[in-house]
């Protein structure tokens, strides 16, 4: 059974529809991510789950109980704020003990529970310190301990790592996933960082203008984006205009960028019609490039292209090619060789090749 059910929730501020009829079921123990650009409604949705904002319509159920209009203090869930929101006048110990004091735990149980949590986040030595005496990462861990101390049913995280530097952020990724597995608490994570979303989530929802563009596992969303926005927002993607020339069973014959023509197997034909327009989406790392015609040509589509520019990223190099009619095509080539990569020169002619099945057809 789903631990959190969001049913047809909408919210507008003044005339601005921020969350538009969203329904999500989140399972017990999931690490669920709401991903989207700023202003997509992800934080508003989180605030409605936490109880800081009431939805205009729709219902929210937590563990089968309708919590739509409960005040925040009566919801068995906690939020980790972007600013950590530690109480500056309380020590680390008292910060972590705060929810237990509010719930009137008896003193002995309270002390042992707080000490256990501080041990979990390796802050035992810092119990008597005040928040301003801690580093960013330590503050983050206090916030986590404080939110997990009374074993909530759900933990909401509002861009909790955006205040940390890149190295610490990666370190916290590992810790968060570990903590989530150990405690078994369901996490709902809000972020605009696609790397974070892909690395951490068991499932994720891509939001745009208050609506869900796609809801699936990170692998599925990345490999087979369903909408133009999902493909464009999540990672790099070549989005080439395409037209359906023929449909046979579950195979589409596509004419892409007016010059490429190949077959694409799809799961379901649905509303796709012959003559229908859309985009062919393919990730840059699915595209290979060679000076000569590759030898393993079977089921691989090839085309001539011209090198326009390249960006060396260290682990990979991003090339921009143009096809014969000027269509731009990005390719991410891994720098696998032991020696320094031998870049293609600008204006050099190459053969690009890819497996059409690596891409996806998006209906307009």
């Amino acid at each position: 059974m789903a631990i959190l059910e969001i049913q047809n929730v909408s919210k507008s501020f003044e005339d601005n529809l921020v969350v538009n009829n969203i329904s999500i079921n989140i399972e017990q123990g999931e690490f669920f991510t709401l991903l989207g650009p700023s202003g997509c409604g992800k934080t508003t949705l989180l605030r409605m789950i936490a109880g800081f904002t009431n939805p205009d319509s729709g219902k929210i159920f937590l563990d089968g109980k309708n919590i739509t209009n409960l005040p925040p203090e009566e919801r068995p869930l906690h939020t980790i704020f972007q600013s950590f929101a530690l109480f500056p006048h309380l020590t680390v110990f008292d910060n972590v003990a705060f929810p237990l004091k509010m719930a009137k735990w008896n003193k002995i149980k309270l002390v042992s529970q707080v000490e256990e949590l501080l041990e979990d986040v390796q802050l035992t030595k810092f119990a008597k310190r005040y928040p301003h005496e801690l580093s960013g990462g330590q503050k983050q861990r206090v916030a986590i301990a404080r939110s997990l101390v009374d074993r909530p049913k759900l933990l909401l995280l509002d861009e909790p790592l955006s205040a940390l530097d890149a190295r610490l952020r990666e370190h916290m990724h590992v810790e968060l996933v570990k903590l989530q597995e150990e405690t078994g608490v369901t996490f709902v994570y809000v972020t605009h960082d696609q790397q974070e979303a892909l690395a951490l989530s068991s499932r994720m929802a891509v939001l745009n203008f208050g609506e869900i563009e796609q809801l699936d596992t990170p692998q599925a969303v990345y490999a087979k984006p369903k909408t133009y926005f999902a493909a464009d927002f999540l990672g790099k993607c070549n989005l080439l205009p395409a037209e359906v020339r023929a449909i046979t069973n579950k195979t589409l014959t596509l004419k892409v960028s007016d010059i490429l023509e190949f077959d694409l197997d799809i799961e379901e034909v649905g509303e796709i019609k012959v003559g229908g327009k859309g985009w062919y989406a393919i990730r840059p790392e699915k595209i290979k490039a060679n000076r000569n015609m590759p030898t393993e040509v079977e089921d691989i589509f090839t085309a001539k292209a011209t090198t326009k520019s390249y960006y060396y990223y260290g682990d990979a190099t991003l090339y921009e090619f143009t096809l014969a009619n000027g269509t731009k095509l990005q390719a991410m080539l891994s720098n696998l060789r032991a020696t320094q990569p031998n870049f293609f020169d600008n204006e050099q002619e190459v053969i690009v090749s890819f497996d059409p099945q690596a891409g996806n057809f998006l209906v307009e």
Binding site: E73, S83, A85, F87, P88, F98, H132
Partner: protein, 300 residues
């Protein structure tokens, strides 16, 4: 010597001169006068006197002895402390919600509301007290209203003007902005996320106020209280205008000693008592500030 003409030194000379001339010298004078003998016709007796070929140095502890044993002076002293504490407490009770209201209102209104708090400063202190004399006077609607309520409760009518109540009311009125401004400055900086966090962690609205807002505003409460208490304790104009014989304060005594009785040494001793008590109470405030929040996390 190189640092002597540095910017820091040069810039600090004018305030230093100011403080020496207007604070240090008068304080020393006050202490010296306290040990001298009162003159026969007011002021102080000459320090060195030649009488019948003997030279006398006129220094004495008599004024201190008198002040310490005077029931009257201590009565005035404790009354001043009592009135000031009551005024400070009332200012806090009235000023806190007001400061909160201003801090929580929309940004565009805040400056206007602050202006309303400050507007009384635009008119003369005395005029404002005279205005209160009219409000508290026997002819005013306010007095009629109070006496109507008193009558309903079955008591004889009261005279508001020329009473201790009038003194405290006016001191609250005069000093309220000094409570509201530091409180506002503090409350305005509060992070809304902290209140949300406390609600999220199980605190009701009222608990959030008690456990988060109040402790975090402690520096503002202490600053406001000190700013109200200190001018209150030395007040003499208000008791003179709206008080009666039973509401005179230590400031009135000091003024009388210097301007009417002309007993400068006793006036100086009384001033010393007042200064030391203000100093002591201010130190107490600072200790509170260190103990209960305030300074511990002020430098975050």
């Amino acid at each position: 010597m190189k640092n002597f003409f540095s910017e820091k030194t040069v810039l600090s000379i004018p305030p230093l001169i100011y403080l020496i001339a207007l604070f240090l010298v008068p304080t020393i004078l006050m202490v010296v006068i306290a040990f001298r003998e009162p003159g026969s016709y007011g002021g102080v007796a000459p320090l060195i006197e030649h009488v019948n070929n003997t030279t006398r140095i006129n220094l004495t502890l008599d004024s201190f002895k008198f002040a310490m044993t005077s029931h009257f002076i201590w009565q005035l002293f404790w009354r001043s402390v009592g009135f000031s504490l009551l005024s400070t407490f009332c200012c806090l009770i009235i000023g806190y919600p007001l400061a909160m209201l201003i801090a929580k209102s929309k940004k565009n209104y805040r400056e206007f509301l602050l202006l309303l708090v400050i507007i009384p400063f635009w008119s003369c202190f005395l005029i404002r007290i005279y205005a209160w004399m009219i409000i508290l006077g026997p002819q005013s609607g306010f007095t009629h209203m109070i006496n109507y309520i008193v009558n309903v409760l079955g008591y004889p009518p009261v005279n508001l003007l020329y009473s201790s109540a009038a003194v405290v009311i006016c001191m609250i009125y005069i000093n309220l902005p000094f409570m509201v401004l530091p409180l506002y400055a503090n409350l305005e900086k509060h992070d809304e996320a902290l209140i949300e966090a406390s609600r999220d962690l199980g605190a009701t609205n009222f608990q959030a106020f008690l456990k988060v807002t109040i402790p975090l505003s402690m520096p503002g409460i202490l600053a406001g209280s000190a700013l109200v208490f200190i001018p209150c304790i030395g007040m003499f104009v208000v008791p003179e205008l709206v008080g009666n014989n039973c509401s005179l304060m230590i400031g009135n005594l000091i003024k009388q000693q210097f301007l009417q009785t002309m007993n400068w040494p006793l006036g100086s001793v009384t001033s010393i008592i007042m200064s030391l008590s203000v100093l002591g109470i201010t130190l107490l405030f600072v200790c509170f500030a260190v103990r209960f929040g305030g300074l511990k996390y002020a430098n975050k």
